[in-house]
Amino acid sequence: MKQSLLATRKNYNIGLIVFFISILLPFESFGQKDQIKEGAYYQKIFQGRYDDALQFLDDNSWISDSLEKNGIDPNFAIAIIFPELIRYSSIKDKMELGGLLTLYVQYGEKYADFSVGRFQMKPTFAELLEKDFNSKHSYIKIKFNNSNTIEARIERIKRLSDIKWQVNYLAMFLNIMDTRYSEIRWESQEEKLRFYATAYNSGYKLSKEKIKQHICYNMFYTGLVKPDSCYNYADIVLDYFYKSKASK
């Protein structure tokens, strides 16, 4: 960028504007939106980790097939968890779940605040889904053990560790959201996706108002420790959503 700014006087002003916009991008959502439609902004930011996430989806096309077969829009569903695939790719080598799994199984909720697997789902999230899920309206037919016991927690951990079950939990989440917000008439698919993605990331048990409020928050990061500046979860979701739609 600097080289091109210095290259000719003619390009100087344009270059300067581009330079300032690029500085503003992480903080200004209007700037991101233009970039999102081009579908390349976050791929540049997350680089290899973004590519790993794309590769994972390429290698596991059954995820998309399985969702579609069961009446779920795979583009919409996969977009919701796409930022988690990026996060998983960057922390997979540093993840130490062994001790946490043991503590969660032994003592439950107190030690439940950790994320598992590709979709980075927390045991607490799975537990809520299992309680709220209505299998009458879904292809997933199972009676969950909702007791506060070691056996129930072992079963949950085993499900969370299985990518097929993570896809099921995602489908359950969509099922619950569709039921819970069936009265809302979404102005666009983008609006609905932003809302669902934020609910997935912040907690779907939050009130509608809180979820809407959280849509604007920049809370997504890829490391183990939260850095000073974070990214907007829903923006990354939309970035992927447009890109995957464009490629079909």
């Binding site: 130490e96 062994g98 946490l100 043991t102 032994q106 056996e151 072992i154 085993k158 183990l224 420790v225």
Partner: protein
């Protein structure tokens, strides 16, 4: 009759005494006691096995505030993680998997030569083996004294070739080669009954060929399962197994199990093809969470809610585990949190 009974009794008694000597009770040491409602922030804590609580570095969480146990004292409270200077921990909490992965190098370039007619020859310690149409896998022992190779002819019929003079035809498609830690023993997995279109293969690149083979294997599996043969170092068939029980870590060699291979089918542990233990249905055995003794006769299962040893004794599950090996001795050391507050270290020989 009574003499026979006495003999059997004495034999059993001797065996049980021997067994108790081989697998003694775990040694236990209390490390520290947490306060009521206090929980460990495991990712920020350094747990080690010095046996002294002065050596522990523990970050805890109680009433929405952080505490740090360092040099035997409890410091805090800290309101934010930023207020704490976290210590870097060197060791992992629990080894991810007990399975041994042999660090195979690409020996093809060093030991395989392409001939003028497009076939391949293996050149090893002055001897020539071949020609072969394809060399699929070449394994060389660490001392470079032995090799084993999976080769195929023009009809894609696979063979196992070793520097010991073994030349055995394999009936099926080569799936995987698994080496023991010493590099001198191995398993070859062969999937039976996969249809291969030889004419289609001839125009394929190496990458396309591998992809084609995987697709054929998948088709076979989708069509209702297939069978995988497990073949040993001498070309001996250990058995045929439904392919769905075979996975990237099953069968395998264990990091501590020397040249003994193991496999878990359902809730049963097999060592060298023989059943060693049928676990309770509430356990969750896999090769990744089973550690074998060097003689392959004893084991420890690291389950979610217990460590279970082959002598039948079980202990609270680890939040930190280390496996030490010295000669033929394998010692498991672990730290558990008992009754939500008691941090305890254990040590037990396999």
């Amino acid at each position: 009759m009574s003499r026979k009974f006495l003999f059997n009794y004495l034999l059993l008694f001797t065996l049980s005494v021997f067994n108790s000597v081989a697998q003694e009770d775990a040694t236990k040491k209390a490390l520290l006691t947490l306060q009521e409602g206090e929980s460990i922030v495991t990712n920020e804590s350094c747990l080690n096995f010095s046996g002294h609580n002065e050596q522990l570095y523990l970050v805890t969480w109680q009433d929405k505030q952080f505490y740090v146990y360092e040099n035997g004292t409890r410091k805090g409270p800290y309101k934010k993680p930023d207020d704490i200077k976290f210590r870097e921990c060197e060791n992992d909490q629990i080894p991810e998997c007990a399975v041994f992965n042999y660090p195979e190098e690409n020996y093809i370039e060093s030991f395989v030569e392409l001939t003028d007619d497009g076939t391949y020859i293996i050149k090893f310690r002055g001897e020539k083996y071949g020609p072969y149409n394809y060399v699929y896998h070449l394994h060389v022992s660490p001392d470079k004294a032995l090799f084993a190779a999976i080769v195929a002819n023009a009809e894609m019929k696979f063979s196992l070739i070793t520097s010991n003079g073994l030349e055995q035809n394999l009936t099926g498609t080569f799936e995987r080669f698994i080496s023991s830690p010493s590099g001198k023993q191995f398993l070859v997995l062969i999937k039976e009954g996969i249809d291969i279109d030889i004419s289609a293969l001839s125009n394929m690149s190496e990458a396309d060929m591998i992809k084609y083979m995987q697709e054929q294997a998948q088709k076979q599996q989708d069509a209702g399962g297939s069978v995988t043969q497990i073949i040993g170092t001498e070309g001996n068939l250990y058995g045929k197994y439904v392919s769905s029980v075979i996975s990237s870590n099953n069968p395998a060699y264990c990091q501590t199990g020397s040249d003994n291979w193991y496999m878990v089918i359902g809730n049963t542990l097999f060592v060298n093809g023989n059943m060693l233990k049928q676990f309770d249905r509430n356990t969750n055995p896999s090769t990744c969470n089973i550690w074998l003794s060097t003689d392959g006769k004893r084991f420890a299962l690291i389950d979610y809610n217990q460590i279970l040893f082959s002598d039948g004794k079980s202990y609270p599950p680890p939040i930190k585990l280390e496996v030490e090996q010295s000669g033929t001795k394998t010692i498991l050391k672990w730290i558990s949190l008992e009754n939500e507050t008691e941090l305890v270290s254990y040590s037990k020989e396999l």
